[in-house]
Structure formats: C-alpha cells, structure tokens
Symmetry: C2
Subunit: 458 residues, 2 copies
Amino acid sequence: MKKLLLLIIIAPIFAIAQTDDSLFIKKISDEILTNGKAYDLLYQLTKQVGGRLAGSPQFAKAVQWGKSSMQLMGADTVYLQECMVSHWVRGGKDKVEIVETNHVKQNKLLDGLALGNSLGSNGKPVVAEVIAIKDFAELEKRKDEVKGKIVFYNYPFNPTYVQTFKAYGESGVYRHAGASRAAKYGAVAVLVRSLTEATDNNPHTGAMSYNDSFPKIPAAALGLKDADALYELCKKSSLKISLTTYAKMLPDTLGYNVIAELRGTEFPNQYITVGGHLDSWDVNEGAHDDGAGIVHTIEVMRALKALGYHPKHTIRFVLFANEENSTNGIGGGYKYAAVAKEKNEQHIFALESDEGGFTPRGFGFSVNANQLQKVRTWLPLLQPYGTEEMNYGGGGSDIGPLARVLKTPLSGFVPDNQRYFDVHHARSDVFEAVNKRELLLGAVNMAGLIYLIDKYGL
Amino acid sequence: MKKLLLLIIIAPIFAIAQTDDSLFIKKISDEILTNGKAYDLLYQLTKQVGGRLAGSPQFAKAVQWGKSSMQLMGADTVYLQECMVSHWVRGGKDKVEIVETNHVKQNKLLDGLALGNSLGSNGKPVVAEVIAIKDFAELEKRKDEVKGKIVFYNYPFNPTYVQTFKAYGESGVYRHAGASRAAKYGAVAVLVRSLTEATDNNPHTGAMSYNDSFPKIPAAALGLKDADALYELCKKSSLKISLTTYAKMLPDTLGYNVIAELRGTEFPNQYITVGGHLDSWDVNEGAHDDGAGIVHTIEVMRALKALGYHPKHTIRFVLFANEENSTNGIGGGYKYAAVAKEKNEQHIFALESDEGGFTPRGFGFSVNANQLQKVRTWLPLLQPYGTEEMNYGGGGSDIGPLARVLKTPLSGFVPDNQRYFDVHHARSDVFEAVNKRELLLGAVNMAGLIYLIDKYGL
C-alpha cells in the first residue's frame, strides 16, 4: 500500500519532467533541422581544407579552421592542446602493375593504394610473382611457396553480416597484420583486398602495423573489381606484379587537439566530453570519416548555445588529433586522457561520433548495468528522432583512453552503417556522399543525449 | 493453476517455433545478401528501360521486362492483367523564363517542369506578371490581385518534421490543387515550389488535378534554388514570366499489371499480395520510385523460391500499372481489386513497397488491434535485419483498393525516408541514388514478414 502511494506521488513528477524534456529536445531538433550549420561546416572542412592526415600541412589548417569555427559558434572558450602525432607520408603516387602473365610481358595497371603506416619501396619497383590466398589458414598451409613472392590476400568482406562493422572487424586483420605474417615466410610485398562491399573499384587504405621481428615489406590495397579479376587470373596463370610505393614513416611530430567548452553552472569541475577526430586519410576529403563527427560535435555545441542552455556540468567539445594512424600511446585521444588524469579531472561521460554522418539508429554504451538501465529510460524521448537502440558496446578510439585511465563511462553514436564501408578510407569519402538531413539528425540525437546526461547524470 | 500449466506446456513449443523461424529468416537474409538479384534487376529496369510513364512505349517495354524477369526468377506462373491507364504526355521541353523585371527586358531561364496531368500552353508562351504567395490563406487575402497573373506558390517543405512524409502531405496540396484554386480568381498559370528539401535545383514533378469548375491552366514546378531566388526577386520587383508547356491528356489507354504466383500448398485459393508500381515519371529512371519496390517484389519471390519454400497460401507478386498519375477509379490497383472481387477471391494480406530502396526501419499496418498485436510478436524475429517499428498506418496506393473493396489487411514497407524527397519525381531519381545493401535489406525484411504471414496467418 505504501509502495502504491509512492508511485502515485512520483508518477506525475516524472511525467512533468518527461514533458519538459521532450519539449526541450523538440526545441533542439527544430533548431538543428532549421538553422543547423553542420552541413555548411562540413563543406568548408572537406572542400576548403580537404584530406588532413596527422602531421600534414592540411591538418594544421584544419586545426585553425576548427578553432575559429568553434569560436564563431559561441564557445565560452576554445584552446589547443599540444600532443605528439604519428607522421606517415605517402610520398608519391602508388603504382601496381601486372607485368607478366605466364612469362608473357603485360602492362596492366591495377588501382592500388599503399596502406597507412606501411613503408614503401623507395620508389623502386618490387617485381615478383604473385601468390593469391584467401586467408591466414591458407598462408600457413602454403608457407613454403611464399618466399620471394608478393602475397595477395583476397579475404572477402562478409556480406551476410547485417552489421557491417562485424565484417570490418573480421577482415581487418589482413590489412593490419597481413604484411608481417607474410614477411615471416619471406614475402617481398603484400596486396590486400579492400575492406568494403562497394560496387566500384576504389581501393581503401587504412592503418597497418609491422611486427618488428620481420622485414618491413610494402603493402597496398586493391579495389574489389581488381581484386576479383586478379584472383581469377592467379587461379589459371602465373603472374608477375610490379609494385612501387614511396611511403615513409617520419619521426612523431607536434599536433593539437582543439577543445571548446561550455562552462558548467553547478559542477564546473565535472566534465562531459563530446568529440570526433579531425584527421583523415590523405586520399579523400574525410567527409564521413570523420568530418561528420567533427561537425556533429560543433553542431551540438552551437545548438545548446543558440537555445540559451546553461549546462550544469562543463561540456567539452573536442576535435581530436591523429586517430587514423596513431601508434600505441601516441595521438590526441591518449594526450587528452593523460592530461585529464594529471589534472585529476572528474570525467562523468564521453560521447564520440566516428561511424559516419548517416541517419541515426541509436547509441552504444560502455557503462555498467545500472547506468544502461538509466539511459534506457530516456529511449522514448529520443525515439522520435531516430534512436531505436541503446545497447552495450560503444565508445570510440579517441575517448577510449578516458575509460582506460579514468574509468569514464563512454558512448558511441550509432548511425545506420550500410553505406559506411562503401566510402571508408577510399577516394569516394567526399562531401557529396553525405546527406544534409541525415547529418543534422545525428546532431539532434547526440545533443538530446548530452542534454539528458547533463541534467540527470549517469 | 491451470493457466500456469498451459503456459509451461506452450512456452517450449513457442520457443522452438521462434528458433525455426529465426533460422529460416536468417537463411532468407543470407540468400538475399549473398545472391540477391534486386540490384542487377534495378540496373536493367532503370538503364535499359528507363522512365516509364503509363501509356508510354517505355511502359510497354517495362511490362515485357517484368514478365520475363519473373519467369526467369522462378515464378510458378506469370500473366498480364489488362487495365485502363491514364495517358498524360509532356509533349515537349517545358520552358520557364523571366522576361521582364521592373519593365526591363530579361531572359533568365528557370528550371521548370510541368506537373503531371496538367494541360500545357500548346507550345505558345503564357506571358504574365507573377504574384508570389506563401499559402492559400495569402491567396484568399490577395484574390483581387490574381486576375491575369501567374501565381507562384512558395510553400516550404517543413524541415522540422523528422518524418519527411508529413511535410509531403502538408505541402502536397499546393501541387495537387493549386492550379484550380488560382484559376478560380483568374490566374493564367501557376508555378509551384517543389516538394523537397534537396540541396540541388532540380524541379520535382508529380500528379495534380483540376477542378472542372475553373479554367484548366498550365502548372509547373520549380527547384528550390530558383524558387528561393524568384521569391526574393518578387518581393522587390515586378516580374513577368513566360511559361511554355506542351502537356496533353490523351484518352485512357490499355496497360497491364504483371502478376506472378507461387501457388499455395494448403490454401491455394487464399491470396497474399506483394507489390510495387512499375510505372514512373517520364523525366527520370524511377529508381527509388518505384523501381525499388518492383525489384523488392521480384527478389522476395526469387529468394523464397531459391530456398525451396512452398507457401501455404498463394503468394502473388504484382507489378502494378499506373500509380503515379492514375485518375479516380483508373489504373492497375483498381483493376486488381475489381477482378479479385469479381472472382470472389479471398485476400488475407497485401504488402506494398513504394517508399524507396533505403535502409529498412519497419512496416506500417492498416489492420485491427488483434492483428497488430500478433504481428508485433514477430518484432524480435525481424529486428536483426533492421525492422524496429511495426505501427498503425500503412499500405500503398496500389493495394489500397483491396482494402476498400475486400477489407484486406494491408502493410507498407517503411524504409528510412530522409533521402526520399531529395530525388522523388526529380531527374535525380536514378540508379546511382540507390545503395545495393540498403536495397537488398529491404527485400530481406519484406520476405521475412511474408514468410511469417504465410505461416501463421493474421
């Protein structure tokens, strides 16, 4: 009976709060869908700055753009945070060519792209016979055939996984570790089927790493049409390929996280972080990856400010340096967490957008069970804007170190991911691949979640 | 106690059924995502047939394509169903030009497109002053200024509606009824802001209709950039526009629904219909509208057949004639329902896909409360493939007559709709605007629902 009474008293209060919240989130949505600047900002970042690999002059330009954009959009304060970043350069135009089929000379160019962090052939062609294999199991079985050859990994991106990130996780190991696994058996270079299901032939680059125990051989990605054709050709012919790449790893260099703040009115020393990564690959405009996350971040700030919202906690909007090819312990995310720890900052929550600017599906959370239960009570408030899922598992490479160092609860924005790997790390990741409304709706849902976290805590 | 016992007995059976069902739906998904033909079929329909307005030679070609495609994909039987279709022709290249600003001659071309079913100016220019208005309320207020003028409706597509169909419904009345509303007060033509939020300047056509009480004046759509510029110009200047259109309404003519069947093993005389409309506007490839629905329909059939599924009920796969500009009581959907009634057929369910080939969000239902409750128990089975919503409200123009004539329960496939009105009825609705995986996943969810309906009824 007492329990019942309590319910009767609590229910109307909760109902009022929900109504207030739903009204404010509707205001956020109307503000962003009507006056949102995310799309225009993305145009600037992609077309006026362009590709912006860590350490490049374009990245420096992006930092200045980020700083002045966040100032213009009403941040209470904007500052740069120094950090060391990896500094890989492509160094020239990669060239992959079939030069011999069954001992007959050819000159068929393939569309190849050196993998990030790989070392090039110093502009000298590596010419060798190709051995086409499907997976590491086949590599192990045929290890005695590998010496002196170019190993071509043709591991497919599994089309039956509805969640495309699952296919990325599974195939990614060939890009990451394929070179050293093949070098172990004497391979002189590797070619890797791109991590995509795209219907075009664009190769997709992305970070790889070497095992220091083996020679550091060149590594390049092929698009799907070339990969399919090459695999078929290898089945019936002996083939020689000439691979020329120029890539170099230079010493780590100075970069910057760009940080804006809306100061908290009640708990100014408790922080909520919202961010994405400012760097991109060199071969595209980094529109979905992660221009979208950058302009989501700025748009969330702009909208809260435009609505006159005074957060209880200090909200940090962070454009992180060097996600794409940071090596262990280097890069913007690591530095941000290290400084937070050094200053003994209290970080109550961090949210990242780094899965593209597509239509929202929800959020993934790396939080405890009570916290997940709490955020799920907000589902009805965000559902009208596209959030359907609030599940375990999520965060982002840039905010990951916060969780490791300070046990900060994390979330990652989850947009629809069917088109993501069509453009991810490929030339086609350009402004035109982003839809304005889909992009803006991402910011609506992120701003809604941040508002609720700020108001109710976790 | 009895109730509890019943539960204990039923629960494991239900669990087994769910497992069988989830396994079969996974098979459907794997089959479609691996071997799906929807994308290749869409290529044929859009690139080899192209735009296919009812009554056009291209529509006749589409009918033959549909028939042979469904035969190739394994239908038990395929046949054509004669029906009368509206026969509107554009007749020439529409021309809209600003010819005078403040009595000074100009020759600024605007990108205009005659509305479907509108009558043209017989190739003779209609030259008149423009009156720019926002909505019907303003028209009524300024009705005395309208005589002899071209009325330009600049009613915006509301960006704050997260569901874009809501904005379409609200703005659509200006396209549908604007001409006669203006002709009532003596207007000589109308221009209508396109029903879109696209960032380009493509005009969007679409059906309109005349009120026979007033003169049937020409009507054309303008893209958003031209509409915005014209509206601004009209605020500060007097403007004359010259509008030349050639459109004609010819007598209704013969068309065909293309119908394929998989025959039912238990209830061959009970029908489940799956369909989309085969016709499209003349100015594009009708890729999302409704090429997607057509290839969804064929793919659902192909996949069920490929998996050796023998349906209990007869499943009809219908490519309907003449949705876009059918006039009252004319067109493929009406004929299909009329024949069904004539033959006293029992139609237990109909599903339409006519909202594009985008990533799935769910289904809308026009069913009773018990039926909705029943389909919602299947939500966990379809969620892994993208279905999150199973709500009231849904169907499609082509299956609507079945509900009216035979009270058939209906459903409409609901893909994400953020990009739909960017291309809807515009030149940009082409094959390249469709993503392969998004398209295939639509067929996965539709096939899953049809399987469940066939197995459990409604």
